[in-house]
Symmetry: C2
Subunit: 420 residues, 2 copies
């Protein structure tokens, strides 16, 4: 969790609404009821949560807490500072398929360096990760400066947020709906007319770049954005990607207030789940809010839960990822327990995944357990087997039963399970 | 997070106080202000959080959410059901050394089996884990039934919570203080007299067990507890532990309401941090609260952050656990970047941990970065080196500089870093 003021105002208005706020603990104990009532009334009237009701909230992402961390530990870190971080984050949203209230983000950031090399490295990192996982992805890139340039060119620089929010919806809705939204936000018809050519951008990356250079020729910030985008795309084209496809997409805005340069978004190209599974961008001023200016950073965030969903849908988890029990030992009660447990301990130390049924119930029930759990082998060591030194091993798939010297169990399974 | 009613009442009164409660999201939007005021007033008068203010809370531990999970998924799981789980939990406590507001628990539980084999396996598991980590630990065991027996024997069965809370403090305070606390809770002097012999228990495990058998001879539940404790201790004595020490401790109570049988607590025996780093026990009725009776469970929970603290204090992390950058490539600007990045990509694919300084700033600053980050090697490939095919490699520890063919970098570091 974070102090509430660390988080508010960083994720757009909608983001603020999606923060899970934590009720101050023991709030009832520390103050008189009249004082608590007054605090509550203030909070209610202002339509905000007064600090007497809540002063902490759950992480919305890992980037803002990272910026807070960097400023807090500025005397202990080396600049440029790189870190990766894997932690849960929360959104107070209606849960639905692919949309979680609690999920894990895996972030990589570099802070304290303006170089576009960082953007290029992060694109390679993203490509490496998804190539390793076997997911074909489309990496969309844009630049917040291009969006500022567009707002400037169409004479509505003060409406940049409304414009980006509206055109961000182009891939989900129609051109007409976007125009209606722009108009409803009070954007003049002349401005909307100037935005319209953007809806028709076509061609490959080079063609899009040259269209933007002409379109943004009178906006210094817009041109700066196009040049950055071009530099990154050129480098990636020369260096090549392992598996991912990359394309510029000027409708890509992302709702986060803090981006100032490059913006990335990654979607899976196979399977039904076409949701965003990764995203990021450059933020010039995020640490400034916490008291350390001119520390530009750039980062990428992988959505672990959605990646898991995609991998499940596409059957990408290897069979070896299943680390279930390999062998169940049947329980015959007190007399055999200590003997069996010593054997298990030895087999476990040698890397075998073995389990001892905890209760000495009927054999049929223990067999059903092995079957339900899909445990491939069952070992039977009752008093007879212990005396003779020969145990029974049942292959649960084939039904085949073998008699093996107890001292050879380790070798038997080492061979059997290598094949499996 | 969990629904608040899943958590309340399971951790004792103090536990309820330590829950972090989440303010209902958008609570201001969905209702009239008068309705919200009325809800708040109700909550204030009852000194609880009405469900209109908060209906969710952060996990206090993993056991209660596990019981909720088991009941919710009862048609999908196989009984006895075993699971491990690693997740953060929260306590609304004042943070201090060794006491965190947010920390990771690593839990292993077996539910749906009464067998003491589970207790024995969990003790072996605990021993295995701490032997692997290199920490010498003391595993204290007790049984909640013994505590019930004590309350029964001294004629204060209804005061069991007060009695256990008081005697749990014996290792931190004096006998007199415990007696004062017992008296202050309204426990009669005759009862306190009957508790006193317990303060003087001495001897080895067998001697403590035989004292308890005599002391509890008129309490059926007390004797059941002693027998369980004896069975577990005997098995462990016969089977042996790898590194841990085990001892019965009848003052061990643990504050959690839900324990009904065995109780475990594990402390590090070396270092200054003598805090509990692991604990657990048996709970007979936890799923019953959620609608599934007679599903006894037992589990153990490792406190990852405290274990980390202990390992840090005792210097137990191996040097190989540091996966920092092995080689820094100096940045000489645009012309060399694509060449260097292709080389890095190849070295990374071969398992080398390499980094490219992102900005083409003065060499001295890049060297200082390598030094501050304790990166053992720096590679210099400027335009001359690229033309000649020979690069410079600087060993940052010895200052030694070598000229190596660029194509041989991989082999050079494979040898160098194997030794390091």
């Amino acid at each position: 969790m974070e102090n509430i003021e660390t988080l508010t105002g960083k994720y757009g208005d909608e983001g603020d609404q999606l923060l899970f706020k934590i009720l101050n603990s023991r709030m009832y104990e520390s103050k008189s009821k009249d004082k608590i009532r007054a605090d509550f009334e203030t909070s209610l009237e202002k339509n905000i949560n007064s600090e007497n009701l809540t002063e902490k909230a759950l992480r919305y992402d890992l980037t803002v807490p990272f910026a807070r961390y960097v400023v807090q530990h500025r005397n202990e870190i080396t600049i440029p500072f790189k870190r990766f971080q894997i932690q849960p984050v929360w959104r107070a949203d209606k849960p639905q398929k692919g949309r979680y209230r609690e999920f894990f983000q895996c972030d990589a950031d570099v802070i304290g360096s303006n170089s576009l090399n960082n953007e290029i490295e992060l694109i390679h990192l993203t490509d490496d990760v998804f190539a390793e996982l076997g997911i074909s992805v489309l990496i969309k890139v844009n630049n917040r400066k291009i969006l500022s340039g567009i707002a400037e060119i169409c004479g509505a620089a003060d409406k940049i947020t409304d414009i980006t929010v509206a055109i961000d919806k182009l891939d989900k809705t129609s051109v007409d709906a976007v125009i209606t939204e722009l108009t409803s936000k009070g954007i003049a018809e002349t401005s909307v007319e100037k935005i319209k050519p953007l809806f028709a951008i076509k061609g490959n990356a080079a063609e899009k770049i040259s269209f933007l250079k002409a379109y943004l020729k009178d906006s210094a910030i817009g041109l700066a954005g196009v040049n950055e985008l071009e530099y990154v795309l050129n480098a990636i084209e020369k260096e090549g990607l392992k598996k991912a496809t990359i394309e510029p997409d000027i409708t890509l805005a992302r709702g986060l207030n803090y981006y100032t340069g490059a913006i990335f978004e990654v979607k899976s190209m196979s399977g039904e789940l076409k949701v965003s599974i990764c995203g990021g961008g450059r933020y010039d001023d995020l640490t400034g809010i916490f008291g350390w200016k001119d520390m530009s950073g750039v980062g990428i965030s992988f959505g672990a839960d959605r990646i898991y969903d995609v991998m499940n849908e596409l059957n990408l988890f290897p069979a070896a990822a299943n680390k279930g029990t390999q062998v169940l030992f049947v329980n015959f009660g007190n007399d055999e327990e200590i003997f069996t447990r010593a054997l298990l301990s030895q087999l476990r130390d040698n890397g075998l995944r073995v389990e001892f049924y905890p209760d000495s119930v009927k054999m049929a029930r223990q067999m059903k357990y092995a079957n339900d759990r899909k445990i491939p082998f069952v070992v039977i060591i009752g008093s007879n087997e212990r005396l003779s030194g020969i145990c029974q091993i049942k292959n649960m798939e084939t039904g085949e039963q073998s008699s093996i010297a107890i001292k050879d169990i380790q070798t038997f399974f080492a061979d059997k399970l290598k094949q499996a």
